[in-house]
């Protein structure tokens, strides 16, 4: 038990001393996850929107598919992307395995279904009169679509935050695709896994505390935006 208390003590020392290595890892994690979430929003947001407003053949199937993808195990995503980008894979020529780009791809795949599914339900929940009202006031189809998104703004933001919460905390894909290389692809989660196995509890706990704080903040934001949307 003693080593654990010692670890916590060490963790706070590291955090309050603004330990360089710790903060480099935190910043890298944020950079990778924020980039992934931005890309996922750019793709997933419009897709979720289109799924909600358009009637097309196989709509039910895509809804079920996207919802299934929500539960995608992170290691499986890591494995699939790994097989594609490893040197023997079809995209091996790019040489991106064990780089932040590889991790961004993995996290993008994890976050996109979340953003699609939550945007889909957000837009579905929007009053059908929004579109007609915009149209009767002279809006073009795209202007009316933008109005629908604006009406769903808090729910769409909540979708993005939920996606971020998932990727910042995942370890499977980051480990497989990033390789946990110090200074290059070592993120909070992979560092915790490594340092713990090395017995460096203090370092691991320090990162764990920061990760918890981030996760906690994300959830507060998520809750805030969800309650805002309900008020709408």
């Amino acid at each position: 038990m003693f080593y654990f208390i010692e670890g916590i003590e060490k963790a706070f020392q590291l955090i309050f001393a603004l330990d360089r290595e710790i903060f480099a890892i935190v910043l890298l994690s944020l950079r990778i996850s924020l980039t992934a979430i931005m890309l996922a929003s750019l793709i997933g947001g419009p897709l979720g929107f289109l799924m909600a407003v358009k009637d097309y053949w196989g709509k039910k199937f895509t809804v079920v598919l996207v919802n299934t993808l929500l539960a995608l195990p992170t290691v499986v995503v890591g494995l699939i992307v790994y097989s594609l980008i490893s040197r023997r894979g079809p995209m091996g020529v790019f040489g991106i395995l064990y780089t932040p780009s590889a991790m961004i791809i993995g996290q993008f795949i994890l976050a996109t279904p979340i953003i699609i599914a939550l945007t889909y339900s957000a837009v579905q929940g929007i009053d059908k009169r929004v579109r007609n009202t915009a149209l009767t006031l002279g809006a073009t189809e795209s202007q009316s679509a933008w109005m629908v998104i604006k009406e769903a703004r808090y729910a769409v933001l909540a979708a993005v935050i939920a996606g971020f919460g998932r990727v910042i905390a995942e370890v499977g894909a980051a480990m497989l695709l990033g390789g946990n290389i110090k200074g290059s692809t070592r993120t909070m989660t992979t560092a915790i896994a490594l340092e713990t196995s090395k017995g460096e509890f203090g370092f691991g706990i320090a990162l764990g505390i920061i990760l918890l704080i981030i996760a906690f903040s994300v959830n507060i934001l998520l809750h805030y935006f969800q309650s805002k949307q309900v008020g709408i």
Binding site: N132, T133, T136, E151
Partner: protein, 338 residues
């Protein structure tokens, strides 16, 4: 007569194999107010939505200023759509401020912010809600919300303003306000106003022309012997007070101002008052005789003019002339209330 701003020809709309709208031709003049009346399911809203281009008819043509518009390109259609607007029966306000709502139509027309501010202010003054710009729409009462919706439509200065049952979902006390606003819009921004209502008296109060729909078709005859008056209660029975000293016995639950109509075929004409179950009998003078094939339509002045229709045989047997004194008799249940 000036050229119509909006015209439809041979319009048909079919839902599930049933014809819900079948109109041969209809013209709307500039700067006039039109009411589309009819019971629920008569096709009022379908007609309104075809006119405002939300709905495509299955057959027929629509002309905006003599220009056919159904098969126009999207950009041309948008241009026309931007000259008209609709206020829905169950209107929706965007979750934002009053200003943002009213300015929306101006924003998408790329007007400058300064221009938007001026026009929003003016629109709010017109509906009697000055200085409401910064309010959130959540803080509005039902009547205020309805007026903001109207302001949002009129700020565009549309050439045609459509209103679907503008006073159905609001409190009685706001109806008068909304009606006055509609009149004001037509006068001040020279808009053609087309609205639906199931309140016939409202239609006659506001409109220059009333279009009556039944089962998706226009009924040409406006109800005959249409009179405006007051329903009063005397000793437990209801009377319709037309003018002083003339009261019709009526069957109704309500009191207050109303329109009534009496089918001319339901009125019996006689030289003498006779004993019957009919509770209305009035002495009058024949002022007009119109012969229509086998029937004769007579106008009798009993203090107000009432039309009655009798067969040509009766007309000849009774030897009726202009100026003859006759009694008109009809049952209380023959008086139709609106």
């Amino acid at each position: 007569m000036n050229e119509p701003i909006l015209k439809i020809k041979n319009i048909k709309k079919i839902y599930n194999g049933r014809i819900v709208l079948d109109i041969e031709s209809l013209n709307f003049q500039k700067r006039k107010i039109y009411a589309i009346v009819g019971p629920n399911g008569s096709g009022k809203t379908t007609l309104l939505n075809i006119l405002n281009l939300l709905l495509k008819p299955d057959k027929g043509q629509i002309f905006f200023r003599e220009q056919e518009i159904i098969n126009q390109s999207d950009s041309k259609l948008l241009e026309i759509r931007r000259k008209i607007t609709l206020v829905n029966q169950d209107p929706f306000l965007f979750h934002s401020t009053v200003h943002d709502n009213i300015a929306y139509g101006l924003k998408i027309r790329s007007l400058s912010s300064a221009e938007q501010l001026i026009r929003v202010k003016h629109a709010l003054e017109m509906v009697g809600l000055p200085d409401f710009e910064k309010r959130s729409v959540d803080q509005l009462s039902g009547g205020e919300a309805q007026r903001v919706v109207i302001a949002r439509a009129l700020v565009i200065e549309p050439e045609i303003l459509f209103l679907d049952e503008p006073t159905t979902s609001i409190d009685q006390k706001y109806i008068d306000i909304v009606e006055r606003i509609i009149k004001k819009i037509q006068k001040e921004i020279e808009t053609t106003v087309i609205f639906t209502t199931h309140d016939l008296s409202q239609a006659y109060r506001l409109a220059d022309e009333v279009i009556s729909l039944l089962n998706g078709k226009i009924i040409k005859q406006v109800p005959e012997n249409l009179l405006w008056g007051e329903i009063i209660e005397v000793d437990g029975s209801k009377w319709f007070n037309v003018v002083e000293n003339i009261k019709f016995a009526v069957v109704t639950e309500k009191v207050g101002s109303a329109y009534i109509s009496i089918d001319p075929r339901d009125i019996i004409l006689s030289y003498e008052r006779f004993l019957s179950s009919a509770r209305n009998s009035f002495l009058g003078k024949i002022t007009k005789i119109i012969e229509q094939n086998h029937l004769v339509k007579l106008e009798v002045d009993i203090g107000v003019p009432l039309a009655t229709i009798i067969t040509r045989e009766s007309f000849q047997d009774m030897n009726l002339n202009l100026g003859s004194n006759v009694y008109l008799t009809f049952k209380a249940s023959a008086v139709k209330l609106y």
